[in-house]
């Protein structure tokens, strides 16, 4: 089946490449934090030991449990901790730790948090993830779409509209993303008090699918949304404007005009042809956008992955850190893969090159 269908073959190829990338990402995710010598077990032991008498046997049991939780020891067939001659737990080698980490990750098991032990990382992330997705996905997508529309408009109309829009977009895209966020919080949130200065929803409420909660969440959504949206908008508008100006000067636009083809049709030509390289640019920029949006979440105390990451970093909660980074990476990879496949369908130039037809 794959042999006969070049498109499927191409998609399968891309999927394979992305899977390879995923493996590399997981490996990086595992090894980098372990470059240092932080030991989560020591941290927990210190915490557990605080106050009260020291009972050697109880301590050992606790230690074994912690080591087991963090996958740092060898387990026998029954799942018990293997002990050496002195009765001390045998530490697993880095390689076997890696293997079990890989195995667990592929199953979606991201381990246990240190700070909030025995809460599992997966639980922490699954509470935060919807907020991040809900904020970043629509914001980046809409920012991208409207940014491109704005850029195309500026390129076509030129004149007064362009003279205002272009410098404006340039300025906005020069402001670091989170700076815009800080600015908005300060001006609109604190000084003018039009919007809340932080958080995802009113303090008194608990997350639920009620109208009250949803409207509160919506209200808190506005500033962070604007923050990210405007930055993406500005950046895209500038790029699209350049692309469109270029397209308007091409031979085929000139020829289309000479043939008497309608202006609206020609504009469609320009737009479509300029959009396609923009899609490629989107794939490259996604990683950066997501990173920037994470920091925006921090500024707004938004209960998403960004804040979770910040807390984890400040408390050296490694499992949560690596859990968050892995998840973000997977999301970015998925998004890139989607865009990659989409481009193949939309741009005949790339499609022909990819599938090598005719």
């Amino acid at each position: 089946m794959l042999r006969n269908n070049p498109t499927l073959r191409h998609i399968a190829g891309r999927a394979g490449w992305y899977f390879l990338t995923f493996l590399v990402a997981v490996t990086i995710n595992f090894f980098l934090p372990r470059l240092g010598d932080a030991s989560p077990v020591d941290v927990l032991m210190a915490r557990a030991a605080g106050g009260g008498t020291v009972d050697q046997k109880a301590q050992l049991e606790k230690e074994k449990q912690f080591l087991k939780d963090f996958g740092l020891v060898e387990l026998d067939a029954k799942g018990n901790v293997v002990e050496d001659a002195k009765g001390r737990p045998v530490r697993a080698s880095l390689l076997s730790q890696y293997k079990s980490y890989l195995f667990m990750s592929l199953q979606g098991d991201l381990g246990t948090s240190i700070l909030q032990h025995p809460k599992r990382v997966g639980e922490i992330i699954s509470t935060a993830l919807p907020w991040t997705l809900g904020l970043q996905l629509p914001t980046i997508v809409f920012g991208w779409i409207f940014g491109n529309l704005l850029g195309a408009l500026a390129a076509y109309k030129r004149g007064a509209f362009d003279n205002v829009a272009y410098p404006g977009a340039l300025l906005i895209s020069s402001i670091p993303g989170f700076c815009l966020g800080i600015g908005l919080v300060f001006v609109l949130g604190i000084k003018l008090d039009w919007f809340p200065a932080g958080g995802g929803y009113d303090d008194g409420l608990t997350p639920a699918f009620t109208a009250e909660f949803l409207s509160s969440a919506g209200y808190y959504y506005i500033l962070p949304f604007l923050s990210i949206f405007l930055v993406v908008l500005g950046g895209q508008a500038i790029g699209m404007r350049s692309m469109c100006i270029y397209e308007l000067g091409t031979d085929y636009v000139k020829y289309a005009k000479l043939l008497g083809i309608k202006e609206s049709k020609i504009l469609l030509y320009m737009f479509r042809n300029a959009m396609l390289p923009q899609l490629t640019g989107l794939a490259l920029a996604l990683g950066g956008m997501v990173g920037g949006a994470l920091i925006t979440e921090i500024i707004f105390n938004y209960p998403g992955l960004g804040t979770a990451l910040l807390t984890a970093i400040q408390t050296y909660d490694y499992p949560v850190i690596t859990g968050c980074t892995l998840l973000v990476t997977v999301t970015v990879l998925l998004a890139n893969f989607t865009v990659d496949v989409l481009i193949g369908f939309l741009d005949p130039r790339i499609r022909v090159a990819q599938t090598g037809s005719k």
Binding site: T250, D251, Y252, K254, Y255, A256, K257, L258, L259, G260, I261, K262, E263, K265, Y269, R272, N273, L276, D347, P348, R349, V352, S357, K358
Partner: protein, 323 residues
Amino acid sequence: MAVLEVEDLRVHYLTRFGDKIQAVDGVTFSLEEGEILGIAGESGCGKTTLVSGCLGLYIPPLHLTSGDVRINGESIARMSMDENRKKVLGQKVAMIPQGALNSLNPTRKIKDMASDMILSHDETVDPKTIYERLRERFDRIGLDSVEVLNSYPVQLPAGTKQRVVIGISTLLNPKVVIADEPTSALDVTTQKAVIRLLFELMDERIISSMIFITHELPLLRHVSSSIAVMYAGQFVEVGTTEQVIFDGRMPYTRALMGSMLSAEPGQRDKKPFAIEGAPPNLGKPIRGCRFAERCPVVQPDCSSTTQELRIVRDRQVRCKYAS
């Protein structure tokens, strides 16, 4: 009645600084049915602007100064842009562009771009009829219509693309076709095929007459029935092919023909001809003969007397001393 009549056409363009450059300064000629007029001249002589004028297409900063252009008696010089687009472009006058290889929208199938053109002139035609017309026409010009129509430009070789462009340009059977260096990027064999195609289209009355612009002498000789030599916005010699090429009476004509002979055929590069000096600045009013500064046989009063076209030996020559 002539197919195309150009009467004392003057076209200028405005630079960013407000200067008025008179790119076409009084051109008059008529094109009869079946006639192929070759236009020869250095780059910057006003050929391209003249083409715009013949199309009735004045996109700022290009503006019509004065004069008239008529197709089959109907004036097209002062139409609104919308009217011009609908009635003239592609329909009465069509252009085969210079960079034909890049003239097709890379993200549109051939049949789609061609049908865009048809629909832009007549919205009522239905897709089935359009497709059939396209098939019929493309087959007629020697292309495998089904394959070509459903392809993207990137999938077609250069020679095929050139045919496609000619096919699309002549789709609505325009009376006048203006070919602007249509073969400059092609190899000799493909050139021959393209020229042959153009002749066929004329023979079959799909197109009535043609204006052919080129700076390759063999091509000029082979294709044109008459030739106009253009210099600094004016025609300086107009006559039959034989007359102009072998027996030019205006000094510029002789110099031009001589330099074209030394340029290699098929070379796309528009290097300045071997005539020394440069054409005059058309932003300022010019007195006397425009070629005076570079003319090898210039006379003392050439720069002070305005030159008009006179009849010398059955052709028009813009030179006081031609005989």
